[in-house]
């Protein structure tokens, strides 16, 4: 089950990269990057999962005393939280850049912005 989820995650990353590298439209590239981000999140969560265990929340069913035997690894979850928010932050920034680039040259084609070269 874990390997399946992780494989999907990796596949999503590859699809995301392919989308980012092949489409010349800037918005499409940003969409592709969000898909790659989702893929990364999926892989990370899959790493933390242990079959037959439950979420790391101490409540009636999971007593504080013997939580260690019942819960899955909480650390990847904490990291994914940060990763998702950072992913959104960067995506928002890229969208703003896309807007300004469009405002400057009235085109969203990445190949149009090659003044700096050599």
């Amino acid at each position: 089950m874990i390997h399946l989820a992780m494989a999907t995650g990796f596949l999503l990353i590859l699809i995301g990269f392919y989308g980012a590298v092949s489409n010349r439209n800037i918005l499409r590239m940003i969409v592709a990057f969000t898909i790659a981000d989702s893929g990364v999140n999926l892989v990370i969560v899959a790493i933390g999962y242990m079959p037959g265990r439950t979420a790391p929340i101490l409540d009636a069913t999971v007593k504080a005393g013997y939580a260690a035997a019942r819960i899955i690894d909480p650390v990847p979850q904490a990291l994914v939280l940060t990763a998702i928010v950072i992913g959104v932050g960067v995506t928002a920034l890229m969208l703003a850049y896309a807007y300004k680039l469009y405002e400057k040259k009235r085109s969203l084609d990445i190949a149009k912005f090659t003044e700096l070269r050599g």
């Binding site: 980012a20 590239m29 790493i47 950072i86 920034l93 990445i110 003044e115």
Partner: protein, 1045 residues
């Protein structure tokens, strides 16, 4: 010592509170930003002081009240303190520089700047892997944000390209971190380094480590995945690029270093490989660059690549790594920040627009200090670091890497000094430098920091490795003193210089052995006499005396050097000093560039030779060259000899000399030609004294030297014959004379060396005299072309006498010391068994006479041209040294024993048999005897009688009026070409022209063109398209994976 967490908290608190201020009062916001940045700089300064002065130990700073593997911890050690200080100081100075842009951008821009600096410090301090990722993301976003400071429209697309690549990088980094966490069970760097991996997970940990490593290395902008970085450097605001290249590079480098700590030695070769490819590729791409900021971008990529190489050699360098890595890092950071701040002051973006800086000498000094820092020249930290790096690499036998580093460094020196040449020599653009105080202050702070760090590194290398601090050696201090006195009038400085040099000679002449005494005599007293000619100049001559004194200081330190470090430091100092002197000439820029390139190339060969000889030993006295391991000795000999021969312009390595000596100023040419060439000879003397004969693959190296010397003498003289320009003629004749001296040295017997020494003295005297007299004539007649002169014997008698005496001395005609040289030479030949090269040398003799005759005949004899009627005698201060030299020549001709006797007995140490016997005026050798006084009298009598007879006969000679010549009824367009001196030796040219084809020039020209076009072709890789940069990154990951893992 405040906990660094206050640094983080201060940055965040300040940037959050800036939001509260209403946008109109951005002046107050700017004040808060400066105060916060100052505080952020003060925290690490306190720690650094604690570590340096009070010797505190590195401290772990815990957060969240839990111990490290379970919570994030920061570490504050000496390295972290120094780097955080470097980052925050650059940030503060850049913020000062960015006053207008920040205020225009509003409090948000200031908040982003503060957060960016906090992020860089965080990268340096944190010991937690995921925390490193968060700080890297913070740095990436703030970098993309700060790009908006720039007015350049293209900055926006550069920012977008950066975001694309940073998205890819963060994906790899995240996956790498998580899989490493899974394999090792912890996110803390130190625990991960020591974690005993469960047996099964080693390969997957390696893979995870690879992903992390490749992501962090991409932050260091490796080749080919660095297109985005160059676009940022070119389009962003210069103060921001300064921050980006100094602070961001420092942080990323330390992050990679921490990661390598976790990865272990297995990963060092990969780091070195990536580093060296980036270093070479970036330098190659920088060659054809026209835009100054893009060139600086390439140069900073190269420097970061070099430091990555040093990090990759950590297993070799051991505890020396911080000294070397920091030396290079600090030089790079200070110089790059300074140059970017300077580029903000210059209006235009092409390299020649920097000529606008010429109006402000202080900024010129700043520019050359930064260039010297980047090319690791003494007395800056880079020099000590490079010396250590080369010493260890050669000691451990990593010669291929060493060669690549030196080649890359030479290319870098090439484009940087070319840029300096453009700045000094190209015509200045219209608008001058527009620097308000708050923009100029950071530049001066950077220069001051550079020099202070140079002193500090000198102390450090003194403590650690026993080399004494360069800045404290008396000659260099004396030379640098002239920097402060540059506002004085020229003649005051001249007197000061002459008295300084003469005083230094009399203070120290007792310490030298007879051979070194001769060289010291020429360098100091000879130098003082040549400086007499500098009285002729008036005004302040900004920059002349520091450069001249730097050269003389280098030469004196060369003679006094007893270990390889001092010898090499002196060699580079005199190269630098002489380069600045030559560069002063009006059209000397291209020649000065070829001079500095050949000299630095030679210096690198010497550096490699010494490092090879030392075999890793920290202290390597020169005399120990004799005890070098036989397997390595011939290579050491080859390297050192070629290095020294670049200075004595042996054939093939000579193409810099004619241009450099001819285009230099009137009083610089004698210095550079008469004195500087002797430094090369001194090197060869030291080499041959210590190493003697060496065999390589059965070939006797000194035999090869002999042939090279013979050809140099012949071809040097031959090329001199066909020169139209008088100074070029003398320059080529110097090549010929150096060929003679080299020949004497290569004979490897008593008289051969004695002859070489005699040549050293002779050549100094008559070459300086000739250059001065020709300089005087050129000053008066306004031209150096010999066919434009003629008949100046009546108007400039003193110059005529000087040239006549010089001619007689060079050609070896009996009465003067030239003949003495020839006599010793023939005895030496008879004593040795080399016949064939001797024939070539004999041929060189009469050829020498050809160009000498041409010199005196076309300038002084023949009929006086109309426009030269009112020419006066050479200025007093130019004529006086000539007369002094004439006196010296006569004295030396009459009593050679004065100079040679003590050195002759000294040479017995090396070659016991074959010496001369000195009794009164009689000198006898095994094959004959020579009485200079008797010969002088005989020749004088013959000369006087002949002269009287000629005067008597000449009374009735018929005078032909000049230029009343008609070519089939129409006057020739350029009458002066009908002058007899035009194309004086046309028949010889037809006969021997094939020998004089410029093979060497075409060879070196083809080499530089090849490098240029290669760079130009390859940099098309960066086509400006963000997507292709992403592709380059993916390709980079795959290639390194394929090669490395």
């Amino acid at each position: 010592m405040l906990s660094p967490l206050y640094l983080v908290a201060a940055a965040l608190a300040a940037s959050f509170t800036l939001g509260l201020l209403n946008p109109k009062r951005s002046g107050a916001a700017y004040a808060i930003t400066l105060v916060t940045l100052a505080f952020m700089a003060w925290v690490p300064a306190g720690w650094l002081w604690g570590f340096m002065a009070e010797g505190a130990q590195p401290v772990e700073i815990y957060t969240a009240g839990a111990l490290p593997p379970y919570a994030i911890n920061l570490r504050m050690g000496l390295a972290e303190a120094a780097m955080t200080l470097l980052i925050t100081l650059t940030g503060l100075l850049s913020a000062l520089y960015l006053k207008e842009s920040l205020i225009k951008l509003g409090h948000r821009g200031m908040a982003v700047l503060m957060v960016a600096l906090m992020a860089f410090c965080g990268i340096v301090l944190t010991r937690d892997l995921f925390n490193l990722f968060v700080f890297f993301e913070l740095a990436a976003i703030s970098t993309a944000g700060l790009i908006l400071l720039s007015e350049d429209e293209r900055a926006l697309s550069a920012g977008f390209k950066y975001l694309i690549v940073s998205q890819l990088v963060s994906t790899f980094l995240l996956i790498g971190i998580l899989f490493a966490y899974h394999a090792s069970g912890t996110l803390n760097l130190d625990t991960m380094a020591s974690a005993r991996l469960p047996h099964g997970s080693a390969p997957s940990f390696a893979l995870a480590f690879f992903l992390m490593f490749i992501a962090l290395v991409t932050e260091l902008k490796p080749f080919p995945a660095n297109g985005w970085a160059l676009d940022i450097y070119e389009s962003a605001h210069p103060a921001y690029s300064a921050l980006f290249s100094a602070a961001a590079a420092t942080a990323s480098l330390y992050a990679v270093d921490k990661l390598l700590l976790v990865g272990g030695p297995g990963w060092y070769p990969m780091a070195t490989g990536i580093g060296i490819t980036t270093f070479l590729a970036a330098n190659l791409f920088a060659l054809p660059q026209g835009n100054d900021r893009r060139l600086l971008g390439y140069s900073s990529l190269a420097q970061i690549g070099l430091i990555l190489v040093v990090l990759g050699q950590r297993d070799l360098l051991g505890e020396g790594t911080p000294f070397i890595a920091f030396g290079l890092l600090v030089s790079h950071a200070v110089a790059k920040a300074g140059l970017y701040w300077l580029s903000g002051l210059v209006g235009g973006r092409s390299l020649t627009d920097w000529a606008a800086l010429r109006g402000r000498p202080l900024l010129v000094f700043a520019f050359i200090s930064f260039v010297a820092m980047l090319t690791s020249l003494p007395p800056f930290p880079g020099f000590y670091a490079k010396w250590e790096l080369v010493r260890v690499l050669a000691g451990e036998g990593r010669l291929a890497l060493l060669a690549l580093i030196l080649i890359g460094a030479l290319v870098e020196a090439g484009y940087l000094f070319r840029w300096f040449g453009y700045m000094l020599k190209r015509e200045a653009p219209a608008e001058a430098v527009n620097g308000e105080p708050h923009q100029v202050v950071p530049v001066y702070v950077a220069v001051l920091a550079g020099w202070v760090l140079g002193y500090f590194w000198g102390e450090l290398s003194g403590v650690g490795l026993g080399h004494h601090n360069l800045l404290l050696s008396l000659p260099l201090a004396f030379a640098l003193g002239f920097l402060l006195l540059d506002w004085l009038p020229a003649w005051v400085k001249n007197t000061l210089a002459i008295t300084g040099m003469v005083a230094f000679f009399f203070l120290t002449y007792a310490e030298y052995d007879p051979l070194r005494l001769i060289f010291a005599l020429i360098f100091l007293i000879g130098g003082a006499i040549t400086l007499l000619a500098s009285y002729d100049a008036h005004g302040r001559r900004i920059g002349f005396y520091p450069a001249a004194m730097l050269m003389y200081a280098g030469m004196v330190m060369l003679v006094r050097a007893n270990d390889s470090f001092e010898f090499f430091a002196a060699w580079e100092l005199l190269t630098l000093g002489s380069y600045f002197l030559i560069l002063r000439g009006k059209h000397s820029e291209p020649h000065a560039l070829s001079y500095i390139l050949f000299s630095l190339g030679g210096a690198f060969l010497i550096l490699a030779g010494f490092a090879l000889a030392a075999g890793g030993a920290a202290q390597f006295p020169i005399t120990a060259l004799g005890q070098v391991a036989p397997a390595v000795a011939p290579w050491v000999f080859l390297l050192l000899a070629t290095g020294f021969m670049t200075k004595t312009a042996a054939i093939g390595l000579h193409i810099w000399l004619p241009g450099a000596h001819a285009e230099a100023e009137t009083d610089v040419s004698p210095m550079v030609s008469g004195i500087l060439l002797k430094a090369g000879l001194f090197g060869l003397f030291v080499l041959l004294m210590a190493m003697g004969k060496q065999r390589l693959y059965g070939v006797e190296l000194t035999h090869v030297l002999l042939w090279v010397a013979a050809f140099t003498a012949l071809l040097g003289n031959l090329m001199a014959v066909f020169q139209e320009d008088a100074k070029r003629l003398l320059a080529y004749s110097s090549i010929g004379q150096m060929g003679y001296a080299l020949f004497g040295l290569a004979l490897m017997n008593h008289l051969g060396w004695l002859m070489a020494l005699m040549f050293v003295i002779n050549h100094y005297i008559y070459k300086s005299m000739l250059f001065l007299s020709v300089g005087g004539v050129a000053k008066r007649t306004g031209t150096r072309e010999m066919y434009r002169m003629g008949g100046l014997i009546r108007l400039m008698p003193l110059s005529f006498i000087a040239v006549l005496i010089g001619i007689i001395a060079i050609s070896g005609v009996p009465p003067l010391s030239g003949f003495g040289g020839r006599w010793i030479f023939y005895n030496a030949i008879l004593a040795s068994d080399y016949r064939l090269p001797m024939v070539i040398l004999f041929l060189a003799g009469p050829v020498a006479f050809l160009y000498l005759f041409r010199l005196i005949h076309s300038i002084f004899l023949g009929q006086l041209k109309d426009e030269l009627r009112r020419v006066k005698e050479a200025p007093f201060w130019i004529a006086l040294p000539q007369m002094l030299y004439v006196g010296l020549l006569l004295a030396f001709a009459l009593a050679p024993g004065l100079a040679l006797r003590r050195v002759d007995t000294y040479l017995n140490l090396f070659f016991p048999e074959g010496g001369l016997h000195w009794e009164g005026f009689e000198i006898t050798s095994d094959y004959g005897y020579w009485n200079p006084v008797a010969i002088m009298i005989v020749v004088a009598v013959i000369f006087v009688s002949l002269f009287a007879w000629l005067l008597f006969v000449n009374r009735r000679a018929q005078k032909v009026k000049q230029f009343n010549i008609v070519f089939s009824a129409e006057r020739p367009f350029r009458p002066e070409t009908t002058h007899f001196a035009w194309n004086f030796f046309a028949p010889y040219r037809k006969a021997l022209g094939f020998l004089v084809q410029p093979y060497a020039t075409t060879f070196w020209g083809a080499l530089t063109d090849f490098l240029h076009t290669a760079g130009d072709l390859a940099r098309r890789l960066y086509d400006g398209n963000g997507q292709s940069y992403a592709l380059h990154f993916l390709a980079f990951v795959v290639i390194v994976f394929g090669v490395g893992v």
